[in-house]
């Protein structure tokens, strides 16, 4: 296994170095600074904001929600939260252009609100079913 590991590691370093070389030779310093800021910003945004929000949700959820609703809420939050993060560019319609009605031409916010409402409803029902089961 040691041989496989060293081969993988060596190949990884070589590919990564090629990527760095590509960036250094094809972008000017101003562009490289912005790339570096985006790289660092992405880590900071995840490790601070996204991970922090997940921790906060766990703490608040445990305090606020009765036990039967905890598991459904956790499941729902994982799906709803991650898909919502993915949907930020279309939800904001930041790239929309007045001259092109075929671009970003769906009712994103309405769909997202409907999906959010359905998720909340599903959690409420699933929790109620579990609560009744534990009562019986």
């Amino acid at each position: 296994m040691t041989g496989v590991r060293w081969t993988l590691g060596g190949l990884g370093v070589a590919l990564g170095a090629y990527g760095v070389l590509l960036a250094l030779t094809r972008q000017d310093p101003q562009q490289l600074v912005e790339i570096a800021l985006w790289l660092a910003g992405g880590v900071a945004l995840h490790d601070g904001l996204v991970a922090g929000a997940a921790l906060l949700a766990a703490v608040v959820g445990r305090r606020v929600l009765p036990r039967p609703w905890l598991a459904p809420a956790t499941l729902a939050l994982a799906v709803w939260g991650s898909v919502s993060v993915m949907a930020i560019p279309v939800l904001g319609r930041f790239g929309a252009r007045d001259d092109n009605p075929t671009l970003l031409d769906r009712p994103y916010l309405a769909s997202w609100l409907a999906a959010t409402a359905l998720t909340v409803l599903a959690v409420a029902v699933a929790g109620a079913v579990r609560a009744r089961r534990t009562e019986d």
Binding site: G19, Q31, V90
Partner: protein, 386 residues
């Protein structure tokens, strides 16, 4: 407030057993994104060492659709993966560890690079697919391409470092606690199996919500796709005539198509001349780098007929120039294999109607297995070397 310690994260869900299983699928998605991305760069290279194939006609539609769909699926996978290993961010480094410190520094450094490049790739890719450019300086195409190598390189290093743990985790039951951190001792309200099933569900939802941009029968389900698939002739538009600044030149009644061999103009064809030539109809997709695609029924004249009619030699790369005054795709190269392919047209009609202005009126290139940005619109000249 103090800096958290790994022991503060007590959930048994944050475990190598979960991280390894999610990591496998994240690796599959990243690998698919990387390979299909390479295909896309190959397809767009002006003079590749190995010619890009003209068949199958739906090839680029498939690879670029996969690129964007697996990128979307990777978002929930990456978030759960990072959640599962988050406590390790706060692991203390013993500065007296001596030579082992070098290994620790390299490992943590490679993870920092991996996380940074992964987040960068998914964030810029998603923004680009929605034609959103929140950055000012860097070129999306160059940065996304360069960082893809960095991400895959860091991923390979990460797998090399973690291989014993990955094998042990995948080789034992998902609920096995042998590999767990010492602090992970609290059972969660969820089982590990339930968390994994939820993660697969989230990735599935991400795919269904976006894949309709390229899979027609999913159109109605994909509420988050960047296109509905509607547009003139049933084909959406990427760049409009107004954005390309060709409103006047494309509608000018004196427009002609120039055919040049070297510096010599061999023919100037009016729209009526083109309509008088033998007309052909092909069903070909417009497959955009942003991942959406749509099939159209195009009619017009064969590129090879136009060139032969003007006495231009065959078996040459063809430089296609558009009326648009600027932009990276104003001049594109139609490689010889595409120029000679009988399916490659200068399209005059879409779905039985004259081309809409936004689709490239008076004529546009439509060829099999090509990225949409190279299906040049508002063509003003074809040129081959002497």
């Amino acid at each position: 407030m103090r800096v958290p310690h790994p022991h503060d994260f007590t959930s048994r869900l944050r475990s190598p057993a979960v991280a390894a299983r999610v990591g496998v699928w994240l690796g599959v998605c990243f690998g698919t994104c990387f390979l299909t991305g390479l295909v896309s760069h190959w397809a767009q290279a002006p003079a590749p060492l190995l010619a890009f194939p003209t068949s199958p006609a739906w090839g680029y539609r498939l690879t670029q659709g996969l690129h964007v769909v697996t990128g979307c699926a990777a978002v929930p996978l990456l978030l759960v993966k990072l959640w599962a290993v988050y406590p390790r961010l706060f692991e203390r480094v013993d500065v007296r560890a001596g030579r082992r410190l070098v290994g620790v520094a390299l490992e943590r450094g490679s993870i920092a690079v991996l996380v940074a490049a992964s987040v960068f790739q998914l964030a810029t890719g998603l923004a680009n697919a929605a034609q959103w450019y929140p950055w000012r300086e860097f070129s999306f195409r160059t940065a996304h391409y360069a960082l893809a190598w960095v991400a895959v390189g860091a991923l390979l290093v990460h797998v090399a470092v973690k291989l014993p743990t990955i094998r042990a985790a995948l080789g034992s039951d998902v609920d096995d606690t042998a590999l767990d951190r010492p602090g992970a001792r609290r059972d969660s309200v969820l089982s590990r199996r339930a968390l994994l099933r939820t993660t697969w569900a989230a990735a599935g939802v991400a795919v269904l919500a976006t894949a309709g941009g390229t899979v027609p029968w999913l159109r109605r389900v994909s509420v988050l796709a960047v296109r509905s698939g509607e547009g003139p002739g049933g084909v959406p538009i990427n760049k409009t005539a107004s954005a390309a600044d060709v409103l006047d030149t494309a509608t000018d009644p004196t427009w002609t198509l120039e055919v040049r061999v070297g510096d010599e103009v061999r023919a100037r064809l009016t729209l009526a001349d083109l309509r008088a030539m033998p007309q052909h109809t092909v069903d070909l997709p417009i497959a955009c780098v942003e991942g959406w695609s749509a099939e159209g029924r195009w009619s017009g004249v064969r590129v090879s007929d136009v060139l032969a009619g003007a006495g231009a030699p065959g078996d040459r790369d063809v430089t296609v120039t558009s009326l648009q005054p600027s932009g990276p795709f104003r001049r594109t190269v139609l490689p010889r294999a595409f120029a000679d392919d009988p399916r490659s047209l200068l399209a005059l009609d879409l779905a039985g109607e004259p081309l809409a202005l936004d689709h490239g009126y008076p004529c546009r290139v439509i060829a099999p297995n090509r990225p949409g940005v190279l299906q040049t619109k508002w063509v003003s000249s074809l040129e081959v070397s002497a």
